[in-house]
Symmetry: C2
Subunit: 352 residues, 2 copies
């Protein structure tokens, strides 16, 4: 394995411009969003920021370990190849629960609808939610509907919250990551973001690129049921694979090294990224995760993920290093190692 | 008590126009919203509609009875006398949990922010959420932030979901309402809606009208702790007192009779309603509820509510009749009885 690149890189190198108003990039999953959350949102929440930053909070309720999470969905366009705002809203929350190792049980559904929105489209989104809930094995238990004046919304926003139970004693979080751990990626990356982008911009590629939007809970529960010592899980949404791993590096303190050649990117996604000037490592996914666990358990984990998600190609893409500099590095094809950092904003706004 | 008015009124007399797109009135808490929910939203949720229609779903999770609810908040303006979108988002969800007799524990917070929104206003709303959470004794456990392009939102929307525990065996729901039950109103009505309306339209009245926005959980838990046999609770949000009671009449089958002279409306609210052509019985509140319980327990309930909310004037305003025609009637000052029905849409859009 080659040496580290020589220039020292602080954990968040881009000097962030001070803003007085919200920028689109504040929602993009990059450094600006992290700063917004850490300086303003987390202090208002009572949980400590490490908890709040994780995908779900895990709470003790009368002796039951309950996972609780929420996500607003503002994806544009509402319907895209491989999914729509309805399936996204269900899978996004199911996956956030799964990332804490919880068994997702119940979802709430809050609709903010713009005056003039077609009822036929609402029906389509609701039917898609129901189908996604059935697939993931969760119940849509409660809901709310609000309407805003024309021009004060964008068709339909859906906020889901979810509750699940944590039936194990694992502490699945960045703090559990250990040097030597293997980093597994559950499948190819970049499809969701490119599918949205293509639909939004009216681009067509040689082969149709479909979002990877899918529930991850079955695979996670199978890993837990197999008794594997999961250290950390993270789904690869806004900011993609690189952002997820960089955040784990920042929050755990550990350095993480991945190998470019081991990261599956489909040819159509690679071609689209080249054409659009996007880095697939930072493109959002909605049905992919990284699994960090002791390396001696990695092969077993690969088998289980492959069995639960036969259309994916899980791979070991890297490992956790001995060094504790909060760095994420990637080894390219020619052995060159470069640092991956948080982007300041986002490559693609309103991706979820 | 005078006779019923002679003309028969079906439960939902306004013939609803068929729409193909969402109207503002679909969010107003009236008949059009009820139709939207019953024909489109509830069928997509798995719970049966009686459950879904109630303020919270009550779920069994590993032996714990968990209440779960959500509300999006799109109030305009964001800040108004007596409250703001932050306090509203916390109290609205706390109160929905309380209406199922649950002890509210944890809230999630999902922000949809419009590009260009002032960070100082975001800070103000977040600080208000935190203060409201502290007052109600709940934790803001988890959150999410999305940003939408300028012109695709309206400053700030906040969706909260809440979980609480149900520690009693009461079945607090319209189905438990019985003939002879007393109907208690927890305080004066109409302040929230009029405060919003005045702020929105730049109206000024002789005395400043402040929203009644407040948590109701302490009063509800005190009623339960006293061992009272609560049959139904409902907070008086969109659609106000008349809509809440009419919905209980529709869902329970029972007729409910209230007396106009016993319903407290402050002089400034009454004056503003006259000026604006609004009926205070249909104006939204955010810190008022009706309590329906056996009449021999009504005085005890009044004492407890008064003790928990010293600045309110709880009153017995009516009772549940023997008849089972889903009707809500009101006896006016001269003994004239009239029927109160769901409004088709809303008096005031974006009130919460």
């Amino acid at each position: 394995m080659p040496d580290e690149p020589s220039s020292f890189q602080p954990s968040c190198p881009t000097p962030l411009r001070r803003h007085e108003t919200i920028q689109l990039a504040h929602g993009g999953g990059g450094a600006l969003m992290r700063e917004l959350l850490e300086s303003r949102v987390f202090p208002a929440l009572q949980s400590d920021s490490a908890d709040a930053r994780h995908d779900s909070a895990v709470l003790d309720v009368n002796g039951v370990r309950l996972a609780f999470t929420t996500d607003s969905h503002v994806v544009s366009p509402l319907f895209f190849p491989g999914g729509d705002i309805g399936s996204l809203a269900v899978n996004g929350t199911v996956n956030d629960l799964a990332m804490s190792g919880a068994r997702p049980l119940h979802l709430s559904v809050a609709l903010i609808i713009e005056e003039g929105f077609e009822l036929a489209l609402l029906d389509r989104a609701l039917a898609s939610m129901r189908a996604a809930a059935d697939r993931a094995g969760v119940l849509l238990a409660t809901g709310d509907t609000k309407v805003v004046d024309k021009g004060k919304g964008d068709g339909l926003f859906i906020t889901t919250a979810g509750v699940g139970v944590v039936d194990h004693d694992l502490m699945i979080a960045p703090a559990s990551v250990r040097p030597g751990d293997a980093v597994i990626l559950s499948g190819d990356v970049g499809r969701h973001g490119i599918a949205i982008m293509a639909e939004r911009e009216g681009l067509s590629f040689e082969s149709n690129i479909e979002s990877d939007c899918a529930p991850l809970n079955a695979a996670v529960l199978a890993l837990i049921d197999a008794g594997l010592d999961l250290h950390c899980l993270r789904d690869l949404t806004r900011g993609g694979l690189a952002t997820a791993l960089k955040e784990i590096a920042l929050d755990s303190g550990c350095d993480i090294r991945i190998r470019e050649g081991d990261i599956p990117v489909s040819d159509p996604v690679r071609g689209a990224c080249e054409m659009l000037g996007l880095d697939p490592l930072y493109v959002a996914n909605e049905g992919r995760m990284v699994v960090i666990l002791p390396k001696q358990e990695a092969d077993r984990a690969l088998e289980i993920i492959q069995r639960e998600q036969p259309d994916c190609e899980p791979r070991i893409i890297g490992f956790v290093k001995e060094e504790q500099n909060h760095r994420l590095t990637i080894e390219g094809g020619l052995g060159v190692v470069r640092v991956l950092d948080l982007l300041s904003g986002e490559q693609l706004p309103r991706i979820c």
